[in-house]
Symmetry: C2
Subunit: 554 residues, 2 copies
Amino acid sequence: MKSDVEIAREAHLDEIQVIAERLNIPKDKLKPYGRYMAKIEGRAFEDHDEARGKLVLVTAINPTPAGEGKTTTNIGLAMAMDKMGKSTISTLREPSLGPVFGIKGGAAGGGYAQVLPMDDINLHFTGDFHAITSANNLIAAAIDNHIHQGNELGIDPKKISFKRVLDMNDRALREVIVAMGPKKNGVIRQDGFDITVASEIMAILCLARDLEDFKARVGRIIIGYTYDEKPVYVKDLEVAGAVTMLMKDAILPNLVQTIENTPAIIHGGPFANIAHGCNSIIATETALHLADYTITEAGFGADLGAEKFLDIAAPEAGFTPDCIVVVATVRALKYNGGVAVKDLGEEDVDALKAGFVNLKRHVENMKSYGVPVVIAINKFPTDTEAELKTIDELAVGLGVDVALSDVFSKGSEGGMELAEKVVALCEAPNSYAPLYDTNLPVEEKIEMISKKIYGAKDVVYSDDALAMIERIKKLGRDKLPVCMAKTQMSFTDDPTKLGSPEDFTIHIRDIRLSNGAGFIVALTGAVMTMPGLPKVPAANGMDIDAHGVITGLS
Amino acid sequence: MKSDVEIAREAHLDEIQVIAERLNIPKDKLKPYGRYMAKIEGRAFEDHDEARGKLVLVTAINPTPAGEGKTTTNIGLAMAMDKMGKSTISTLREPSLGPVFGIKGGAAGGGYAQVLPMDDINLHFTGDFHAITSANNLIAAAIDNHIHQGNELGIDPKKISFKRVLDMNDRALREVIVAMGPKKNGVIRQDGFDITVASEIMAILCLARDLEDFKARVGRIIIGYTYDEKPVYVKDLEVAGAVTMLMKDAILPNLVQTIENTPAIIHGGPFANIAHGCNSIIATETALHLADYTITEAGFGADLGAEKFLDIAAPEAGFTPDCIVVVATVRALKYNGGVAVKDLGEEDVDALKAGFVNLKRHVENMKSYGVPVVIAINKFPTDTEAELKTIDELAVGLGVDVALSDVFSKGSEGGMELAEKVVALCEAPNSYAPLYDTNLPVEEKIEMISKKIYGAKDVVYSDDALAMIERIKKLGRDKLPVCMAKTQMSFTDDPTKLGSPEDFTIHIRDIRLSNGAGFIVALTGAVMTMPGLPKVPAANGMDIDAHGVITGLS
């Protein structure tokens, strides 16, 4: 089979104006970035019927080294529904440059289920992440400058939680000392860089409703505390206006298309551990007004991304998901059943049965939200008839349908079965409600997620975590939803525990307040917020020739 | 008078396609960024007549706190020539976000001589500087990752000269320690951040002819030395391809328009101290093929920016400047004559005469290149008849014309006198030749610039500088041109020595090799490559409202 970039190069792309016209986006609301990308200005849907389209959430089992293909399934499903004659938009997160040059590579789907132009989307796209980097680092510069210029606010350099960011996998920046050298370089202190997608600005972009809301949230970010333990907000530094100005275009959702010319809106991309892992509310809201069906996705497995979509983003936005697709692969289920990566190509029905428990718990969790659920098996060439039949049989006991998806190899044609089932389920009874009432105490919210979604028997808090919960109560911000920062590899906080572990404890190591974004982060174990490059980075295999033809990007 | 942003808001902008059509740029060579900005793809001029337009260089006296208005004069001159019926393009450097949020504010002209849309141009524009930041920091991450992963090349962490960059005024990042913490964070070392415009990638962007040349130059960047003193190149890290891929759009020149719809090409913006301070060769080359007149500019005073344009950029590109405009103001000349900033509004003919020597030496220097010269006096409301008459009289002795320019208040109308003189001078005899033969020894090149342009009596080298000159000779790179890094405030290396100092020594503190860009940097005194924010940064006065209306940006 051809490589992603080869397939992409052979695709016929419509000019972005053509895609926009199909969605009835007024011409004056379209801000083109080249011929095939555009931002949608203002509320493009203002003149349209207020009736909303159906919302489909694509999530997955716990990620494995075998790969699940959640984004690919999302794109393929949208293409298949489009082919059925249903007006459909795929809404996705923007790729981060860090992983593109590291191990993961691009994040624009794969095979015959890609969003295009894949090279631009994977590189700078329309500059949103660069704007976030600038906005974040303007705040950081303002903090150190404020201290250097006399520190009127009394910021304690030892209590600054706001970090600098870069959209790069750069391990050397995780922990740094800044302001070395002469007095004019400022006040020396320990600091660190996160990757841009881990920035609170990114989370805010994805939860804000408009410029005004964005600015208010940025103003509320707590950058640290004073010597006498009072919170210091971005608004105290008087840069919330400048930061919002930097984001004036980044806040607009980006319109592109799939390889089969189905519209796609790609906007925002927060981490699914220390943030909520979903594309922007603005993007999804826009899509819901422009099309009859919107296919969105959430990062990592359903225990992280989908839980946060259902408990943080959807309640914030007022969305009701009409159907949830849980993606799994035969290979990943066998991996969960104990098969080593190198042996995943071999038929192993017993391992598949053993690993199915992971999928089972995710499906049960999703059903517990009251939303119709369907399993999508993202097909691989090594899958056997016996294995696929086993999944069908096991799914019967769960009371959910299974659809085989082969969009990677076949495009929309490979997604028709899933598309038909999704369309049907969108009409099924729906009693969606978030897992918890945000008015509950912080500990209770954490326990509900840990016990009901993860299956933990109890939750243990560090002293630091308990102290921070107290501080949050005193600040009157304990009614915010909880954003769990947990390994994506397991239901537990131990990445080696696959399948469906039971009788385990969740350890809350630390608590942070993302006061601007509007959630309380509960950290279990160490969460990596600045990845490193591998021994041979993906960057080393990338090139561009004299004619601008790119190789090595996938 | 109205503020810049108010004037900008009232302007009528043509759609960028209309501007492009006037220049006969084929539609398929235009890559729009919104409605009023576009990149010009490929060699837009390929199908045009190869006959080149005339090239006008706008430069100035030494910068003073009083301001000279070089960019404003460039823009106003282009507008006036356009009004005369001459096909003209203004080519300028892109503003840097750092100064926008610091003291300087925007850099898109002012009053009725602006390039538009000024907010976009001053903020992210088409993302070129962000691409440079990413490209630069990918190299930096690759360096530390290489060392962490076993250091096969034997890079000595104490001899790494390649720094990280951010497009931000952030004093705390000037000197940092990276890779603190556990072993997995890499090998601890001292490092620092420059502002993006000081990056060698920026200099390369502005000197490269095309993607291929860009990639070759990036590959040649020396990032540091091994334990046994061998140079380590970017190509050794195998990321020159990925870096060039990141720059695929940034290398294309940006088309915008002036407030009177005259085409402007704004591309690149290297420092005029440690780099050469001119917009990209690609931009100027493009303009020369699209219009009969191209008005370009060079950073700081004529001793820095213009010298480098004439000795580095023009020879590299094969350009012959047809006319040089030296911009001065009555106020700045009085400042050079010893008047304090607060008193510059008062008439003072004697001080003006005393300060004229600064302008005189710049004009004589420019004439020494064999190019016709004209003085532009950028008018201020406080200028008196007696003062303006004095300048006219003094200029007679120099054998050059003086034109009064009032484009800030009057737009093209205020630039007609200058435009007419420039058009005439472009037909005058021209014997342009660079100052020195690049085959001369490094010390001789430095001495020619120091003595003939600055007026120094001698040059003194530090031991470090002499050692580096030796190293460059051994590397066989001593035939490159010299890029002087000197204070912009004075002909000397002491910023307090105004006017036309004599009998002074230039101190070469250090020498650097910008091997990718292709020049040898001679540093006199400390050169600031990462500015800081002032006590009240310009950012604090900036805002954007719910409707996207920006205030405080100028």
